[in-house]
Symmetry: C2
Subunit: 390 residues, 2 copies
């Protein structure tokens, strides 16, 4: 199960307790994944808006095919390596949703030519727009581009009220202009459905306003793209929006559970770990899943319920009461009860196995090169490779 | 430069500003690496003790060959995947320094047989010792094992004063017993040379005491293994110790600089990033190196000087005054000045490149699959692959 591979491997239905599974390893519950996707698909269909799944969490063509509404896309990626991988897998409409630089344009064009793929880029300055337009003029191929709008001041993007810059970028892009994109990153700090619905409405309103600025200036704006897992989940009206991007909801994680985007029982991703020792004097159970397997992500530390480095579950995926990964080293995870609880430590001898729900599915997934796919009987019936890197 | 590979690639001396280097990517300054290794080799030679470099930071056979005192080892690893990789690369004396479980013994034996490699395992309970001994009796091959001793209560190991358990484990191991191992993890919380020298002395004294417990009971203890980067660096006397393990010192990082194990100017590892945008209203420069490239590690947050997600340097490796990676998303890094400084933001237009020194070399390295090796002229002259996974 540990040889490198870039194809689907069928290990022949292996029990999670089997030594054939070398721990730590990543477990993906296919039924939960499919249910999370079905919920989002139905929700967005009802809102009458397109779906461009963000594949930066999964980075797996098998997951992408379940997530996309068609095998050819559309899809969102966060690296050109992802764009190449998914284009190779047949995806033909890809949005690279991180600001473009002139150095990357040759590689973007290589992807377009090699796989006959539409690869749309993102930018938020006249300088970038001029580079994209001049590259297009030079090569004879229009490179489609979106303007990033920043509705909540959390990262990149033109403020939606800065009509002058939005129009200047649109004009500099010329025929490359495709529309506007927003990401409501500040929704990650909320945790009430009502507040999340309001955040989704603010994201929608800013997107529609930015699109109107372009159209009022006589510029086209066929794409109005918004999204984040929390706002996608809680949006009640997406009038004027053409597509939604979201990714982490497919797997779910403890941070998104803290926001209220998913329920803990819907989290499809876990790390399988084996008990390698005990410090009974300290109330510790030590496993072989440290930060290398779980990631250093501690997103829940700033939420109402701090879940440590993860929630510890039995092999059926049921959380042990109050048992967390309290501390980690590179290849050691220290399990301990939440402070102040009256619960007893479960009896987990050397060699016993547990499943750990992650703080952040994107970060935990990135520590691994494959998913061990759990079927309905609680056995691993397939291995799906995933990519990393740039 | 982005195709997967498991061999050394020579890109033909590429400038750090060249678009041939797709960012973000990992840069390894070979001269600094060699100097860090030479310093440790000389220091341990002077102390008259062996060196078993920990390869969990580098995970690269090219780095291993520079670090080890002989091409066949000895070496320390943190996963069986590392053991397989380094055995394939010719290392014949490997210590797997994470507690063993019965499920892993078949794989340990496969490594021993396939590469004729001595693979020593680690344990801290009678239960594990009995599993190792019974496996040896069953297979007819002795599996060498060390007993982990915990001198500072930070993780696994038998307390050094628990003579009864130490002897019971030693007896259960029988002919498999090779000695004792300690890791002074608590030294990571110190930052004064004197205190670090004292921590090294406590680690040494506990190791020697544990060895004496075994010998007094008529049991052999040929190996007395200690180590951590801070204690290795500051040890002044290692009488009774046979070997030192350390790894992160080779590359150095901001956390170890905060401890005082290395100087910032000796840090050999950095992430090359490209400027992808600005938020001048907020004093932000945005690059394409987010947490995926830097890791989520924030070790310096609990030190006297919090270095954010990393210190930003120019292409020659000189830090820009007070410029840090203040915040990260998956593929975005936000550069900002340290709060309260009077410094001005450097002029870094779209497409400009910077190098970022990491909080934690082990964690940052693990986000990448190769090192771009910087030669004395500040150009990349080789690519060294590295492994990840289990």
């Amino acid at each position: 199960m540990n040889a490198g591979s870039d194809t689907t491997i069928n290990p022949g239905r292996v029990d999670l307790a089997s030594p054939v599974l070398s721990t730590p390893c990543l477990i993906l519950d296919e039924a939960r994944l499919r249910a999370n996707l079905a919920g989002m698909h139905a929700h967005l269909r009802q809102l009458g808006v397109g779906f461009r799944p963000h594949l930066k969490t999964a980075k797996s063509i098998q997951v992408a095919r379940l997530a996309m509404t068609s095998p050819a896309g559309s899809a969102t990626v966060s690296t050109l390596r992802e764009a190449e991988y998914f284009a190779e897998g047949g995806v033909r409409d890809i949005l690279y949703a991180v600001g473009i630089t002139p150095q990357k344009l040759d590689r973007v064009d290589m992807i377009r030519r090699r796989w006959d793929t539409t690869l749309t880029v993102l930018l938020d300055s006249v300088e970038q727009a001029e580079a994209v337009a001049s590259w297009g003029a030079h090569s004879g191929h229009v490179l489609p581009a979106l303007i990033e709008i920043d509705a909540d001041g959390h990262r990149s993007g033109v403020p939606p009220e800065d009509a002058q810059t939005i129009v200047a970028i649109g004009r500099a892009l010329g025929t490359a202009l495709r529309g506007v994109l927003l990401h409501a990153g500040d929704s990650y700090g909320l945790n009430e459905p009502e507040a999340l619905t309001e955040a989704a409405e603010r994201e929608r309103a800013a997107a529609v306003a930015a699109a109107a600025i372009l159209r009022d200036a006589g510029l086209p704006c066929p794409m109005v793209s918004v999204g984040s897992t929390p706002t996608a989940r809680w949006a009640r009206d997406l009038s004027g929006v053409t597509e939604v991007r979201a990714g982490v909801f497919m797997f779910g994680d403890l941070f998104q559970a803290g926001v209220g985007s998913v329920a803990v029982r819907d989290i499809a991703l876990s790390v399988l770990a084996t008990v390698i020792g005990h410090r009974r004097d300290r109330g510790w159970i030590i496993t072989d899943a440290g930060w290398m397997a779980l990631s250093r992500d501690r997103s829940t530390a700033r939420q109402a319920v701090d879940q440590g480095y993860g929630v510890v579950c039995d092999l059926a995926g049921r959380p042990y009461p109050d048992l967390l990964v309290a501390e980690v080293n590179q290849e050691h995870g220290i399990l301990a009860l939440r402070p102040g609880t009256g619960t007893d430590l479960p009896d987990l001898p050397i060699g016993a196995r547990v499943r750990i729900l992650p703080n952040h599915a994107c970060a935990t997934g990135a520590q691994h090169d494959r998913y061990h796919v759990l079927d309905g009987d609680g056995r691993v019936g397939a291995v799906w490779p995933r990519i990393n890197g740039w």
